[in-house]
């Protein structure tokens, strides 16, 4: 199980990778969403704000009305944000559960795919 500080570290790296990727920023230029992440094995929950493709904040706890809710284990979140696993594989096995539109689900995976094409 990963605690919040470990997740925080992964999220910081993920935020940097996303925000510094010019192609991703252009691709997600019209994508502004509030995402809630729920760790199914710990009490940890956190919120990510995306504004026109830029991750503007990631805070502990659930803030605001979400467009997307992602639920999985804290370990999977950590590996996902470090780019060490392919989110689609976990999703298709039912290990990552997403509430949101199909388009948003795909966009979420597209972020990982653009940053880490070989993950």
């Amino acid at each position: 199980m990963a605690e919040w500080d470990e997740l925080r570290e992964a999220l910081d790296d993920y935020t940097l990778s996303c925000n510094e990727n010019a192609r991703l920023r252009k691709m997600q230029r019209d994508w502004s969403r509030t995402l809630h992440f729920v760790c199914s094995d710990t009490e940890v929950m956190f919120t990510m704000e995306v504004d026109k493709g830029e991750i503007t904040s990631t805070t502990e706890g659930l803030v605001g009305l979400p467009d997307i809710v992602v639920t999985t284990t804290s370990e999977t979140f950590c590996d996902m944000f470090w780019g060490d696993l392919n989110p689609v594989q976990k999703y298709l096995r039912g290990e990552i559960i997403v509430k949101g539109s199909q388009e948003d689900v795909m966009r979420l995976d597209a972020i990982s795919y653009v940053i880490w094409p070989d993950s």
């Binding site: 790296d13 370990e75 060490d84 392919n86 594989q89 039912g94 997403v98 199909q102 388009e103």
Partner: protein
């Protein structure tokens, strides 16, 4: 997504331009008003399908649901083969709709028949461009379009029913054309409802799980009402001999009921159905292809995204394949073959769904938001009935109801064999290549923590083979 929108999505996915031809296929086996009886009986079977997919959707409320419950019930490889075959129906429906709409537009504009294919290409090009630009119908537009098509078809059908000069023929004579005719009529009636269960792929958008369950039960009722009115109106006003060779029975009904106004009315509705088919069909199929490529079950080119975050290679391939299928249909005039193949694959999928219920009742001990009452006997009944209906449509010849034809079955067998061979031979190689690529490209990025549990994920290369 609420019940109204989910119902519209379900009904919109099911009610395509090809459904108008589906009614003609029913009339081939159940002449005149008898077709309404076949549609009613088909509707009862579809309610069983609704219950089956409600339970499966409740177990795995995800766009990937079909992969999940098939995988748990029959294994991952078989699940992948079945899903690939299932997805070919999307291509068939897109191709069929492109052909039918092209033929209808050409007919109304009194253009030479060769120009129909030009219309097909134009329609597919518009759909391709819209998809590549990331333009999608807003949910409320899709809802309005679906209810407009359903209401418009119903109203014109009612007008046709009250039209002076028509007459009902062969009322309630389901087996009037032979022992098997009634079974085949019911099997083709199922096709009218086909694809309504695809609404389960939007489970993640639903406010609550029961929204999808409600849609699965309400949408077939709406389709039943519209299809029954349309079938009765057709048999009331238009001679079957005129319908038999026509790719646009709805236009013939429109003209018979209201002259040129009726013809344009039905043309407008036909074009509107394309919005749902091309918007929904392209989205579902291209996203499925994208996910399969990301999972390394298809070449990675299919996961390539354009600057609008659209899997452009998947969308373009879908369009090209649809255009080729439409060209084959255009050249051979075998549009009723698409109805037979589509109907048979759907019956097959319903049989597989019933089998999944049987298997998962013993294998998966999980809370089910919806539980089919008398689950095991009804699922057993469904598996048998839908298998029989699969055979009834797979060997049907709607152009000549007195004959059987192995052509639909041959097409399905070819598609199934190609899917299975691909999954057995190509997919393992793709996965090995992906593992090697991942292992060679970069080391694991996540820092190791001595205090962390020993449940860390395997390296990316191993992850794929799990």
């Amino acid at each position: 997504m609420g019940t109204l929108a989910a119902t519209a999505t379900s009904a919109g996915l099911a009610f395509a331009a090809i459904d108008y031809l589906g009614v003609v296929s029913i009339l081939a086996y159940a002449p005149g008003a008898t077709a309404a009886l076949a549609i009613l009986i088909g509707g009862f079977f579809v309610i069983l399908v609704s219950a089956i997919f409600s339970e499966l959707n409740g177990l795995y409320p995800s766009a990937a649901g079909i992969r999940l419950y098939l995988g748990r019930a029959v294994g991952n490889r078989t699940a992948l083969s079945v899903t690939f075959t299932y997805m070919t129906t999307v291509v068939l429906v897109i191709a069929a709709d492109a052909f039918l709409i092209g033929a209808a537009v050409r007919h109304v504009l009194h253009e030479p028949s060769a120009l129909a294919y030009l219309w097909i290409v134009v329609l597919l090009a518009i759909a391709l461009t819209a998809n590549l630009l990331g333009v999608h119908l807003a949910g409320w537009v899709q809802t309005v379009v679906t209810y407009t098509v359903l209401a418009g078809t119903s109203v014109l059908s009612v007008i046709a029913l009250f039209h002076v000069g028509g007459s009902f023929q062969h009322p309630l004579d389901l087996f009037g054309k032979g022992t098997f005719s009634g079974i085949q009529a019911i099997a083709f009636a199922l096709f009218l409802y086909a694809a309504f269960e695809w609404v389960t792929t939007t489970a993640e958008e639903a406010r609550q799980p029961r929204v999808i369950t409600r849609a699965l039960f309400i949408a077939p009722v709406l389709i039943w009402i519209v299809a029954t009115l349309f079938a009765l109106a057709l048999s009331h006003l238009v001679n079957y001999s005129a319908l038999h060779a026509s790719a646009y029975p709805q236009l013939l009904l429109g003209r018979a009921a209201l002259g040129t106004v009726g013809e344009f009315w039905m043309l407008a509705l036909t074009v509107l159905t394309a919005l749902n088919t091309f918007n929904g069909g392209f989205l579902v199929a291209s996203r499925f292809i994208y996910a399969a490529a990301r999972e390394n079950n298809l070449p990675r080119q299919f996961a390539k995204l354009n600057i609008n975050a659209v899997p452009w290679f998947a969308v373009t391939t879908l369009t090209v394949v649809s255009a080729v299928v439409a060209a084959v249909v255009f050249a051979t005039g075998q549009w009723l073959l698409l109805v037979s193949v589509g109907a048979a694959i759907e019956c097959g999928i319903y049989a597989v769904g019933s089998f999944c219920i049987l298997r998962l009742r013993t294998r998966v001990d999980r809370k089910r938001p919806f539980r089919l009452v008398f689950g095991r006997p009804l699922a057993m009944f469904g598996a048998i009935v839908f298998s029989v209906l699969f055979l009834a449509t797979a060997f049907a010849d709607p152009k000549n109801s007195k004959h059987f034809s192995a052509l639909p079955f041959s097409v399905i067998a070819l598609l199934g064999a190609a899917s299975t061979a691909y999954v057995r031979l190509v997919v393992p190689r793709l996965q090995r290549q992906a593992s090697a690529r991942a292992a060679a490209s970069r080391p694991r990025r996540r820092p190791e923590r001595p205090s962390s549990d020993a449940t860390t994920a395997p390296p990316p290369g191993e992850e794929r083979d799990a």
